[in-house]
């Protein structure tokens, strides 16, 4: 690549969110450059097994579903942490987004008319799928939903969707620079003009100048080391370079989702579809404890709730002890060979390949494992970052905020496509109205700065710690003290430990100084951001003295809507040693806070009226740096539409 390149739109991240956004922009004739750490088809989106939530209401168990029910499930799932207008935008557009993917070629599993055999809460049931729905997109059951809503392509939904979307990228001739990493954003006076990038083939630097820059780099699960389902590339690089600007806030970083069924010991995910299709969780006595804990939803309560019950079970000594720590069992045996080797084929393969176990006959060792980052770069409903014009973020890297403090299974894959499409449209409008009026000396300065930073790493010698030792120490702190059950005293220790590790970054020494991409240097360049993300996560968790969704404080077990119906914003101004936290309202409230229908009921009520709360939102967001949106606040709300739904989730029955 030339050392200076220009484009209309620079998309950083080649997973589903980045690619879907790039397609929207390129289809309108704008020039797009897409960067990816790996060839885009190897992005972590490909690993999503289960499905994509969209209220098409095509099968018998989806009857009566519509976006209003999806809205209810998502807001409840978020434990009221989500921006309800964004949820509304999302649920309304999800059906069309799924259908568009069919147009792109996704081989969605289809409705088979006549008698079908399913497992529901462990019972085999026969359900008649109507003839008039034959061949429409099928749904499966996922946690925390009132209806069967997850659309799926066997057990490889993410893979099939990613290949279809990437095929569109190829069809449109979009420029893709794979093995390229953004090291820093080029910005001045609150306006972003692209990024300094590094080629991971040669190690060479370049400046990419763009009218608009989109960050779509996914989550930061690797701060939990091996205790994550995430790919090794999910190190939060995009969130870190946004934080480095000093003005863009990261939101709700303490909202970290654990998935109930990470495989022992590798952390590889086995899909929620296992439980959706009727799989059991068993303790060491082979007792199905979720029936006692959640009589209604059983294994299919939301992920945060199931994870806490699992952890509690293991703390009570009911886990299976191994040299890798305790685990529980996932039991699929009753689903039968036919089902396991087709509908859950990837799970079958993973168990055989990595453990030598056959789930047709054997129990699967699982434990709750870090899975998803609800938090990320704070953006408005157009995907435009707070405090920085021309910077957008989409997908898991962003906090758009449809997930609040707990994401429902199948809502993230859907978000990548729905948000990619919507935000791609906003970016298109932005580049249509703005020109590339930036001085190349700014690019040269940014480039020189990155070069000096690299030189600093290569020149530093002596007996400092290795970059991998710092990484491992961060991960151990995160899993031990910023995990599923959190307390104030442990979080204080975590913040201290992480701060110590962050300071060590400047003393770490490379042992390899080979020319080229140099894998050790490549990781070293991410390490400061990595440490900062961990620290911001721990600090957010320490300050939030309540329990909401995935954030559970044993010393503050109640959800506190009087004080904490707020979104955490973390900024790290340049030249300051610690991040600064502030708070904003979660957004306009339509569905008032209440009981989720699963999990504990303990909560402290709002003090003010919903009208008073809603009246503060606009001004509070502006104070925090929210950009002007194309449509006014609340324009997409369907006030009270959720009341039209007849079936709250508690009433779900196993036929």
């Amino acid at each position: 690549m030339n050392p200076l390149v220009t484009t209309d739109v620079l998309v950083i991240g080649g997973g589903l969110a980045g690619e879907r956004c790039a397609i929207e922009v390129a289809a309108k004739g704008h020039d797009v450059m897409l960067l990816s750490l790996v060839p885009p088809r190897r992005s972590h989106s490909c690993a999503a097994q289960g499905g994509m939530q969209a209220a098409l209401a095509n099968c018998a168990k989806a009857e009566g579903d519509n976006p209003n029910v999806h809205f209810l499930d998502t807001v409840r799932g978020s434990d009221w942490g989500a921006d309800q207008e964004v949820v509304r935008i999302f649920v309304d557009q999800a059906p069309s987004a799924v259908r568009e993917l069919a147009h792109f070629g996704v081989p969605w599993t289809r409705v088979r008319p006549g008698k079908n055999s399913y497992f529901i809460k462990g019972q085999r049931v026969e359900i008649e799928e109507p003839e008039n729905k034959a061949g429409l997109i099928m749904h499966r059951d996922f946690g925390g939903t009132a209806k069967w809503r997850a659309c799926y392509a066997a057990a490889g939904t993410g893979h099939a969707v990613l290949y279809a979307v990437d095929s569109e990228v190829v069809r449109l001739g979009i420029t893709v620079r794979d093995r390229t990493e953004a090291l820093a954003l080029i910005h001045e006076g609150g306006r972003c003009w692209g990024a300094v990038v590094r080629c991971l083939r040669s190690g060479r630097l370049a400046a990419v100048l763009a009218k608009a820059t989109v960050i779509a780099t996914g989550g930061y699960g690797r701060i939990y080391g091996q205790y994550t389902t995430n790919a090794v590339i999910n190190e939060g690089t995009g969130a870190a370079i946004a934080l480095d600007t000093g003005v863009v806030p990261l939101a709700n970083m303490e909202a970290v989702q654990f998935h109930p069924t990470g495989l022992m010991p590798s952390g590889i995910l086995v899909t929620e579809g296992c439980r959706g299709d009727g799989g059991y969780l068993l303790d060491k006595d082979l007792h199905r404890f979720m029936i006692d804990m959640e009589p209604q939803k059983q294994e299919l309560a939301s992920r945060d709730v199931v994870c806490r019950h699992m952890m509690q079970r293991m703390r009570e000594g009911k886990g299976v002890e191994t040299s890798y720590g305790p685990h529980l069992w996932l039991d699929l045996r009753h689903l039968g060979e036919q089902h396991i080797t087709t509908k859950l084929r990837e799970v079958h393969e993973i168990c055989l390949d990595f453990l030598g176990l056959n789930p047709v006959r054997d129990l699967i060792p699982v434990r709750p494992t870090q899975h998803y980052s609800m938090g990320g770069i704070r953006v408005n409903k157009d995907g435009h970052a707070y405090g920085m014009k021309g910077l957008f973020a989409v997908g898991e890297a962003s906090c758009w905020d449809m997930h609040g403090f707990n994401r429902l299974g199948g809502n993230s894959l859907a978000e990548t496509i729905v948000a990619g499409r919507i935000i791609g449209g906003r970016v298109t409008q932005f580049v249509g109205e703005n020109s590339l009026s930036v001085s190349t000396s700014l690019a040269a300065r940014s480039l020189a700065q990155a070069g000096q930073h690299i030189q600093g790493w290569l020149e530093r010698a002596g007996s400092g710690p290795s970059v991998y030792a710092i990484r491992d120490a961060i991960a151990e702190t995160m899993i031990a003290k910023v995990g599923i059950f959190r307390t104030g005293s442990e979080l204080e220790q975590a913040v201290d430990e992480l701060y110590t590790q962050l300071q060590l970054v400047d003393r770490a020494v490379l042992r390899s100084k080979v020319p080229g991409m140099n894998p050790e240097l490549t990781f070293a360049l991410r390490l400061r951001g990595f440490a900062r993300l961990a620290l911001v996560t721990a600090l957010g968790a320490l300050e939030r003295t309540e329990s909401r969704g995935a954030h559970y404080r044993s010393d503050h077990p109640a959800r506190d809507d009087a004080h904490w119906l707020r979104r955490t914003l973390a900024r790290w101004p340049q030249g300051v040693t610690k991040p600064m936290l502030s708070y904003e309202p979660v957004g306009l409230i339509d569905l008032p806070p209440g009981h989720r229908g699963y999990g504990k009921a303990e909560s402290i009520d709002m003090k003010e009226s919903i009208e008073d709360y809603n009246a503060t939102v606009d001004a509070a967001w502006r104070r925090e740096g929210a950009q002007e949106t194309i449509e006014s606040l609340g324009a997409r709300m369907h006030w009270g539409a959720w009341r039209e739904t007849q079936q709250p989730p508690q009433h779900k029955r196993a036929s």
Binding site: R41, R99, P107, S167, R171, F354, S512, P519
Partner: protein, 261 residues
């Protein structure tokens, strides 16, 4: 688990191909390392330990480490495999690792599969050719679930490149995998078959004939079928190959029926 406890503690010997094209001092050679085996050790774990504990310059590629992303194809004792799901307990005590042949070398065990597969996608126009644009107001077109499952079967390729590396012809005739011939390599043929099966792709028989039915296409393949034997996803490449030949033969014998392919 018993199998593990039996073999844990073996001292593994790694012989790894090394060459850094960005380093003018570097020459291709094999480096030797030793590592004590641990339970459930995969080449993913072993290579990371070697890099972090013994030689930080060692280059290799992993992403998902769960055999779905296709990043980590390499030659393990001469055979193309996904390193992430290769359990060391299943292989010999001496483990010789080479980068996949045919692809451009980036360094050590890392090769540029991304550029090759993008070019292949361009060559076979690996996307749905629909005549009408998407209609956001319409219900989705119906499809029989058996057909959806058959398309998914072909969609399962993860583009790891093992079939390309295993192709006997590709290894002796460099032009064989050049831009013209990408459609006769297993991964390309599989992609063609997947779209041919899909009624949403409205390419006519004639259009397919041009892509598939020449010496650059399915008839350029000698049928050695190592691709079928080593495919990490067990794709039925033998059937794909037979399917394409049958389709093209039918088209050749009855030219006027090409449109109904």
């Amino acid at each position: 688990m018993n199998k593990d406890s039996q073999k844990a503690g073996r001292r593994l010997r790694f012989e790894i191909f090394r060459y850094n094209p960005e380093d003018s001092m570097s020459r291709p050679h094999l480096d030797t390392f030793e590592l004590v085996e641990t339970p459930y050790m995969t080449l993913f774990l072993a290579l990371h330990r070697l890099r972090e504990e013994q030689d930080p310059s060692l280059q290799f590629d992993f992403a998902c480490r769960s055999a779905v992303c296709g990043s980590c194809g390499m030659l393990v004792n001469g055979r193309p495999r996904l390193a992430c799901r290769t359990l060391t307990r299943d292989i010999a005590q001496t483990i010789r690792l080479h980068p996949l042949p045919v692809f451009k070398l980036i360094g050590d065990l890392s090769v540029d599969t991304g550029t090759w597969f993008r070019a292949m996608a361009d060559r076979v126009e690996s996307w749905i050719h629909a005549k009408l644009p998407f209609d956001p107001t319409a219900q989705e077109a119906r499809m029989d679930d058996d057909l959806a499952a058959a398309i998914y079967e072909g969609e399962r390729c993860i583009e790891c490149g093992c079939c390309v590396a295993a192709c006997g012809v590709a290894n002796v005739r460099p032009n064989f995998v050049g831009p013209a011939g990408m459609n006769r390599i297993a991964a390309g043929m599989n992609r063609i078959a997947r779209f041919m099966l899909d009624p949403r792709d409205e390419r006519s028989g004639d259009e397919w004939f041009d892509v598939v039915s020449s010496d650059d296409g399915v008839f350029g393949c000698l049928g050695l079928m190592a691709c079928h034997d080593i495919c990490p996803k067990s794709l039925p490449l033998l059937e794909v190959y037979a399917f394409l030949r049958r389709k093209m033969l039918a088209a050749a014998l009855a030219p006027r029926s090409r449109a109904q392919l």
